[in-house]
Subunit: 336 residues, 2 copies
């Protein structure tokens, strides 16, 4: 299907006040930088919870173009912070599947309660706002069929998936009932510069990148044949930028997806080849991860193409090369 | 399909320690009474939150056969209370759709946080427990097709529907990951003795019954042609009893449903005919209710029949007659 013509993003965002929650995190910071480049007046809210993805270095070089407000979306202050922003990119969240099983109440507070707080704050203080929520294809759980489309039944396999599902639906509900303009993008595995590489609890690929650069041995769980899809962060940022200026996505849940699925083994081999360093070995699944693993999963982005004219353009090999180059250049800000 | 042979409930429950959360409420109290009649050692936990459905009179006559522990499932104590019970019927919940929109955080605490607390308490202190969760077909939202089966996409239309969806999935998750034996019954409109008739915020039908008995005028919103299904509480109790003794439902979401859908107008006319008192008129939808109304909805109970041998047996006219007779006999305990 031919996508609709897209208005000029720079014309749309120039001078426009926008808010990015979780804006010191991986995707949030890349989005904030892009929005600043487009001329938007960007406010970033982030809690900088230790162990999470927020890192002040992620906005390095943008100190004079992006305002940063450190605050926890679970607490007070959000009522004030949402006001006056035309578009709210809502990326604040707890994203670790394993942490959600070990600390389900923390995940609930961040991914449910705080989302309700943001939406209630908008309903009362900024009812004209447009919101773009960062959701996850984890909601689908194990695949009944592939690729996953938005009609696929949901059967989340961890607390994080359940709570993200609720957070997403709050957005759709407030769109439908209260007239806020909100949509939800269901992200698949996203990778690229500024992803969390301090530990392996949030993204496996970030940890693999670090290990490859350090010339360490990467452990692949199971047989390495689970197929997943990956989107480079610039592509994901482009989807947020488009969703923030497209009325046709209001009230909709929209998948993002990678260019083509690839199995873990091939992913790691490509990474090591691109990096020129690193090794791997295949080991059995750790029991606590096996319990919440979901096998082959990858998404269709047909609806994103239809509504936003979006498609992933950065090839995996190219994206991995850019990622490795970024971390080699900025190791000090990300390794410790 | 021929249902499986059912073991004798009295043989299964006799002497068995069981817990009913929300057991002073409408369905919970009817279930607790039935379980006591089957010889079970029943502990009821209820918070008796004002405005909710809990009422000490609901266990009238069972003082010596059902133990009652007043406690809020949101608070401490649940760790202790779940211990030692073979079956936990988990009916504690906030059930008002309109309250969930006005107080979304209260709904979140009761329908999400407290459910996680109960499951965490079982995981740590009673991992062999079997849980039966009271869910709702409200999760489906507006119908893509009818009757609703368990494969129907979920698109909840109020905060309550979203949070009940999360609460349900916590149960399925803990079944799948931690080996608790948990299932979820998605109830449709339930009616009968001990339903809340103090106000109209939880069930429309309870309020209609009261108005009919008081010979008042019943207001029907819209054109009265919305079709719904209704199950008499004894039928719902039977489903819980069966689910609590059936291993085949573990990890499953199972609809209950009424014998046949009926529109609001015919429902009210039947009620007034049975009661011999009451009148009605049709008025436009109040805006706050219209926003969360879901039109025609009714459920298929085919899976419940397959797994539990369950089907609704009480005809609407008969169930309404029993309900009216109950409230005429016990008006003092329910009207104020």
């Amino acid at each position: 299907m031919t996508p609709p013509p897209l208005a000029d993003p720079a014309a749309h965002y120039a001078g426009r006040p926008v808010l990015v929650t979780g804006g010191l995190g991986f995707i949030g910071s890349n989005l904030a930088r892009r929005l600043a480049d487009l001329g938007a007046r960007v406010l970033v809210v982030d809690s900088l919870i230790p162990e999470y993805g927020g890192n002040p270095a992620n906005l390095s070089g943008y100190d004079d173009r992006v305002r940063v407000n450190i605050a926890d979306v679970r607490g007070h202050g959000i009522d004030y912070l949402v006001r006056g922003h035309d578009v709210i990119f809502n990326l604040a969240g707890q994203v670790s599947h394993i942490d959600s099983m070990q600390n389900p109440f923390t995940d609930l507070d961040i991914n449910c309660r705080a989302q309700l707080s943001i939406l209630e704050a908008c309903r009362k203080g900024n009812p004209g706002a447009k919101l773009v929520y960062a959701s996850t294809r984890q909601i689908y759980g194990t695949a009944d069929y592939l690729p996953l489309d938005e009609r696929h039944p949901v059967h989340p396999t961890d607390v994080n998936g359940i709570n993200k599902m609720a957070g997403e639906w709050y957005h759709i509900l407030y769109n439908n009932v209260y007239g806020l303009r909100a949509c939800s993008l269901r992200l698949t595995n996203t990778y690229g510069p500024r992803m969390l590489v301090k530990h392996s609890r949030q993204t496996a690929l970030g940890w693999f990148v670090r290990q490859a650069i350090d010339d360490h041995e990467i452990e692949i769980w199971g047989d390495g044949r689970q197929r997943r899809d990956y989107t480079y962060v610039d592509d994901v940022v482009e989807a947020f930028v488009r969703a923030g200026m497209t009325e046709a996505v209001n009230g909709r849940v929209v998948n993002l997806g990678g260019r083509a699925p690839i199995d873990h083994l091939e992913l790691i081999q490509t990474l090591i080849d691109v990096a020129g360093t690193g090794r791997y070995r295949v080991i059995p699944f750790p029991p606590d991860r096996k319990a919440i693993d979901i096998g082959d999963v990858y998404s269709s982005y047909a609806l994103a193409h239809e509504l936003l004219g979006w498609e992933p353009v950065v090839a995996l090999r190219d994206g991995l090369a850019r990622t490795v180059a970024f971390y080699r250049a900025h190791r000090d800000a990300y390794w410790s």
